[in-house]
């Protein structure tokens, strides 16, 4: 977009012409997948859709992902790895 604006001739160009379609996520996806999509998209945020892809339900940003991964032990929802049980 900066490229398009730089020459001053495109100020009135509709934004649709420079739009990129980012990869998207489903709300049920894990953050693992979210990080990968964020990485792949090259942008700093990607849209999150509901399970039928009918509605955009949120916006996953780099910042939100970082915050979640740094969240306190007690606060973040997390799985407990399997205990070592006697065979």
């Amino acid at each position: 977009m900066a490229d398009a604006l730089a020459d001053g001739a495109h100020d009135d160009t509709p934004v649709a012409e420079v739009t990129e379609l980012p990869p998207e996520l489903k709300a049920s996806d894990l953050l693992d997948a979210g990080l990968e999509v964020l990485d792949r998209s090259g942008g700093s945020a990607v849209p999150v859709l509901d399970s039928q892809a009918h509605q955009v339900v949120g916006w996953l940003t780099h910042q939100a992902a970082l915050t979640a991964l740094r969240a306190d032990v007690a606060s973040g929802p997390q799985a407990t790895p399997g205990e070592v049980s006697p065979a």
């Binding site: 977009m1 398009a4 604006l5 495109h10 100020d11 009135d12 160009t13 509709p14 934004v15 649709a16 739009t19 379609l21 980012p22 990869p23 998207e24 996520l25 489903k26 709300a27 996806d29 894990l30 953050l31 693992d32 997948a33 979210g34 942008g43 700093s44 945020a45 999150v48 859709l49 509901d50 039928q52 892809a53 009918h54 509605q55 955009v56 339900v57 949120g58 916006w59 996953l60 940003t61 910042q63 939100a64 992902a65 915050t67 979640a68 991964l69 969240a71 032990v73 606060s75 973040g76 929802p77 997390q78 799985a79 407990t80 790895p81 399997g82 070592v84 049980s85 006697p86 065979a87």
Partner: protein, 468 residues
């Protein structure tokens, strides 16, 4: 006291042919089954798990039960080593001490490592190897502070061990020197072979363990007795498999056996150790891997002697390097492997081929197998020590919906670039969704259009769905 106990059991079996009536005697009691199930098996993985995932907490009774179980198992002829038991015993004592004096979790881990280091240092009379084993395998960390404490534990244990058992290396090995530059190439090939053998040993161990699990249908506490009979038969055929096997090892490196017999011993040891552990015995895999390595190395050396007598050099050197390299291949602990072989031989001249073979063995083993002989046991129970520890929020355990923010205002696709630039400048993220004329968001999915919700009126930073 437990240290001495397990140790003398090992030495006694090493002292000569054991009384035949001991073969196959259902010697392993059900103590393990009832009092401390962690004491089953080889020991090191349980300690690695306790340190990595449980803040170093190990039940105090593990020390007593493990000492009894492994003394009975090794003393009764089980073809396993002492390092696993002693690491677990030392670690349990360290953990118990930590519990009594109420230390914080990081200190608890170091105490567990101290116990393990002290155990190895005293049993093998190898203070350096004890320290590095604890740092490389148990703590998986070389922080200077923990190093100091582990060294202190190792030195103290060595001094006491030497006072009680005398200052003799646990294995007497002849010294060798490299006589020909070509030998480096041969040692490198041996290193690769040994890396493969280490991985093979790991596979055979768990394969036989699985087979034992699959075949045995009776009560668990009777299994060692039934398995003991089978192991006894194997020991009758191959006496060299009895116990820890250091005397056989020494004889082998000295070049007493023929190539064919060495290979028989190699396979025999893999099977005997796996069977001992598979039937529920308690013992380590370090000594067996040294044993396998010595056999492979010596056999390799003898073959090289036949092929290239001019450059091959002494056969024993190959045996020695094979020992360290197979351990490195199985446990992927190159630092410990180099140091323990160096400590055993006290021979500086062998350090160059030793290091190169061991590093090659570890690298090759990593190439062909994701897990080591220690971590595979944990992996099979669903624990992956290489993944972030419990307590760290994990990206594969949080759903995107818990993390995502409220959607920002969209930009109509008919907007001009200039307007869009302004909106973008005001946005938090430097990216904004572009909406079509109906206010829908066009995406890549099959339905291609999704409704864009009315943005929340307040700033996104204050309306983000909370993680808490």
């Amino acid at each position: 006291m437990f240290v001495v106990n397990a140790d003398t059991a090992g030495r006694r079996t090493g002292g000569g042919p054991p009384p035949p009536q001991l073969y196959g005697v259902p010697r392993y009691l059900s103590a393990v089954h009832f009092f401390a199930r962690e004491a089953r098996g080889h020991g090191v993985p349980e300690v690695m798990y306790a340190v990595a995932r449980k803040g170093g907490r190990i039940a105090p009774q593990v020390a007593a039960v493990k000492a009894l179980a492994s003394a009975l198992c090794i003393g009764g002829g089980g073809s396993v080593g002492r390092e696993g038991p002693i690491v677990q015993i030392g670690a349990a004592l360290g953990s118990t001490l930590g519990r009594v004096v109420k230390v914080a979790e990081p200190r608890m881990r170091v105490l567990v490592a101290c116990g393990a280091a002290g155990g190895i240092a005293a049993t093998f009379n190898a203070p350096l190897a004890g320290v590095l084993f604890a740092m490389e395998l148990i703590l998986a960390d070389f922080a200077a502070q923990s190093f100091g404490m582990v060294v202190l534990a190792s030195v103290t244990a060595s001094i006491i061990g030497r006072a009680a058992l005398g200052n003799t290396p646990f294995l007497q090995l002849p010294a060798f020197t490299v006589q020909h530059l070509w030998q480096y190439a041969l040692f490198a090939v041996l290193g690769l072979l040994c890396g493969g053998a280490g991985v093979l040993f790991t596979r055979v161990l768990y394969l036989i363990e699985d087979a034992c699990d699959a075949i045995w249908r009776g009560p668990e506490w009777l299994r060692p007795a039934a398995g003991g009979l089978l192991l006894g038969l194997l020991l009758l055929v191959l006496r060299q498999m009895y116990g820890v096997g250091y005397p056989v090892l020494a004889a082998e490196v000295a070049g007493t056996y023929t190539i064919g017999f060495l290979l028989v011993l190699l396979v025999g040891k893999m099977v005997a150790t796996s069977l001992t552990i598979g039937i529920g015995g308690s013992g380590g895999v370090f000594a067996p891997s040294l044993f396998i390595g010595a056999m492979l190395g010596t056999a390799f050396g003898e073959v090289m002697h036949l092929l290239a007598p001019a450059v091959a050099g002494p056969v024993g050197a190959y045996g020695l390097i094979g020992m360290g390299a197979v351990f490195a291949g199985a446990a992927r602990a190159p630092i410990t492997a180099v140091i323990i072989m160096f400590e055993l031989t006290g021979e500086y001249s062998i350090i160059l081929p030793l290091m190169s073979a061991i590093v090659l063995a570890s690298a090759f083993s990593r190439r062909i197998s994701a897990d080591t002989i220690y971590t595979l046991k944990l992996r099979r129970r669903g624990v992956d020590l290489s993944s972030p520890a419990q307590g760290t929020p994990r990206a594969d355990a949080i759903s995107v919906s818990k993390v995502m923010l409220a959607v920002p205002d969209g930009v109509p696709e008919s907007a001009t670039l200039q307007d869009a630039a302004l909106a973008l400048a005001r946005s938090d993220q430097g990216v904004l969704p572009v909406l079509d004329a109906t206010g829908a968001y066009r995406h890549r999915g099959p339905s291609a259009r999704a409704r864009w919700p009315t943005p929340w009126p307040t700033e996104p930073t204050t309306t983000r769905p909370s993680l808490r």
